[in-house]
């Protein structure tokens, strides 16, 4: 007969093991993905890869019959332009919203706004892409009198809407972590609300806010589906926000299905994948270290 106590021990053991397996598998998956991406690209990376041409040539002709060229500069420019536009919009609005929610709202309104932001975060990216295609496209054509509305601007706006929820929720956490005693001190000295924001809260929460922005950038750089639909798919260095562009992610998504498995083209796409992986990894790691830095500082005092 198994006693109750033994049962408890056994079930605890099972639960603990399950949780541990889940945790370990998460790590294995990440490494597994990296390994897979790396393996697929490795053949090209170590034999035919020419870093200079790869990074500094704008000529992306992976399917040319006579002369295949794999320069991703224009595609990097595409990703960069879309990200810059997205951040130009998302940073002020995201930080502004976070400050508003955390410092100027109370009660029901605060709850409502937080739910709204979470709702925004839950919209699938293909839906955003659809909005870019069906709503933003005609809007941009009308407003700017351009032939095509699928542009860097369109993708940037869509991406900003996708990055804002992350920026808001992490910034809000950072502001919440500012000790209330700082606010009291400043209020008792006669500070205005606006001065409070830029003289007390921003400096005190600056690391957290920076991390929020970085994670927003990470989101923008890594996003695929929405930009694929909204940016117009032209490999070129954009001269203005109203030019069509193509991003790194969109290139992979669009071309991988057509590239014969194991071909140079196929492998180059994986090299782009490694490059993207590295960028987002560095961004996230930096954000993580900044946030960890905050913890250490708070621990001291």
């Amino acid at each position: 007969m198994i006693t109750r106590k033994q049962w408890t021990t056994i079930s605890e053991f099972l639960i603990e093991t399950t949780i541990r397996i889940c945790g370990i598998s998460a790590i294995i998956f990440v490494f597994g993905i990296f390994f897979f991406v790396f393996r697929e690209g490795a053949g090209f990376l170590f034999s035919k890869w020419e870093p200079l041409k790869f990074f500094f040539s704008t000529e992306w002709y992976p399917t040319s019959v006579s002369n295949k060229r794999y320069g991703i500069l224009a595609i990097i420019a595409g990703t960069a332009s879309v990200t810059v536009i997205a951040m130009t919009i998302a940073v002020p609005f995201g930080l502004g919203a976070a400050i508003f929610i955390s410092e100027f709202c109370t009660g029901k309104l605060k709850e409502f706004l937080k739910i709204l932001i979470e709702f925004l975060a839950a919209i699938p990216s293909v839906v955003w892409g659809f909005i870019g295609l069906m709503v933003m496209n005609p809007l941009i054509i009308d407003l700017f009198r351009v032939p095509i509305g699928l542009t860097a601007l369109n993708g940037g706006i869509i991406l900003s809407l996708m990055a804002i929820p992350i920026i808001v929720s992490i910034s809000e956490d950072a502001l919440k972590a500012v000790p209330d005693s700082y606010r009291e001190a400043a209020i008792a000295l006669g500070i205005t609300k606006w001065q409070m924001v830029y003289r007390v809260l921003m400096p005190a929460a600056k690391n957290g806010l920076l991390a929020a922005v970085l994670l927003g950038v990470g989101r923008a750089v890594g996003e695929t589906m929405a930009v694929l639909l909204a940016t117009g798919h032209a490999v070129q260095i954009p001269g203005s926000p109203l030019d069509s562009v193509r991003t790194l992610t969109a290139t992979i998504a669009a071309e991988l299905g057509e590239a014969p498995v194991g071909s140079d083209h196929y492998q180059v796409l994986f090299v782009i994948g490694i490059f993207l992986f590295t960028i987002t990894f560095v961004i996230n790691l930096t954000a993580y270290l900044i946030v960890k830095g905050i913890r250490v500082q708070h621990g001291e005092s």
């Binding site: 005693s181 009291e184 001190a185 400043a186 008792a188 006669g190």
Partner: protein
């Protein structure tokens, strides 16, 4: 400070509610100009609440209702034309836990000047002067003159609390409110802060909340005893400790509750 006024703080029938809970009940009190007034009473009797009425920082919690009248320097602070910013400029506050801002000592001291003046109006020399003067007044100058760039939050607690007093001074406040300013400090630091208070007498009207009977006795000229949101007794400190008028005051002073 204007000499003709006898009282810097006057309240009449002051009641304060946190939601439905009444924390102050018809408090009518006149606090003398240029003196140190002690505010004593058992924990939860409303000392902090009363103190925080005088610069209206209670209002940051949305659920506070106040009725009655408060006059600071003869001006009703609930009048529509009162600027909270100017009120708080002339009524400084020191908190229970030292709360310097996470910026340098120097910036802590000039923080008030920075928020109350336009950038152009502030000359470097003038700020340097203000810092030296304020730090000298709280006896921190000799200790800190070489570490003005240290973060205020990295100082010892005693220095932090003195810094919190120093940062009020450049704004030339008339009144300084202190809420148990020594409760986070050890005996020596407490003594140092008390000495500092003595030296400030006459220049400022000081209201100090304290849990410590001996401290109230040492530092204050007048004393107010509160119980359950009501003012029980307000007299000269000596009188209160030698022959309290009310039984409850006597019991409290002798440590029968609190």
């Amino acid at each position: 400070m204007s000499e003709e006024q006898e009282y810097s703080i006057e309240t009449k029938d002051l009641c304060l509610y946190y939601g439905d809970f009444q924390a102050l009940n018809n408090v009518t009190v006149n606090i003398s100009n240029g003196k140190i007034t002690g505010l004593i009473g058992p924990s939860g009797c409303g000392k902090t609440t009363l103190l925080r009425c005088f610069n209206r920082v209670n209002e940051r919690y949305g659920n506070v209702t106040t009725t009655g009248e408060i006059r600071i320097l003869s001006k009703n602070i609930y009048d529509n034309d009162v600027s909270l910013i100017n009120l708080r400029k002339s009524v400084g506050m020191v908190f229970q836990r030292p709360n310097p801002l996470p910026i340098s000592v120097y910036e802590n001291v000039v923080f008030g000047l920075r928020i109350h003046s336009k950038r152009k109006e502030l000359k470097k020399a003038q700020l340097d002067d203000a810092v030296e003067k304020a730090l000298r007044e709280v006896y921190l100058w000799d200790d800190l003159k070489d570490q003005l760039q240290t973060k205020g939050t990295h100082l010892q607690l005693e220095q932090q609390q003195k810094l919190c007093i120093a940062r009020l001074l450049p704004l030339k406040p008339e009144i300084i409110l202190m809420d148990e300013p020594c409760s986070a400090l050890d005996t020596e630091a407490t003594q140092a802060v008390e000495e500092l208070m003595y030296s400030l007498t006459g220049k400022y009207t000081i209201v100090i909340v304290t849990h410590n009977m001996a401290q109230a006795r040492r530092v204050s000229d007048e004393c107010i005893f509160m119980l359950l949101g009501e003012l029980v007794e307000h007299t000269r400190t000596e009188d209160m400790f030698l022959n309290p008028k009310h039984k409850k005051t006597e019991d409290y002073i002798e440590g029968r509750y609190g």
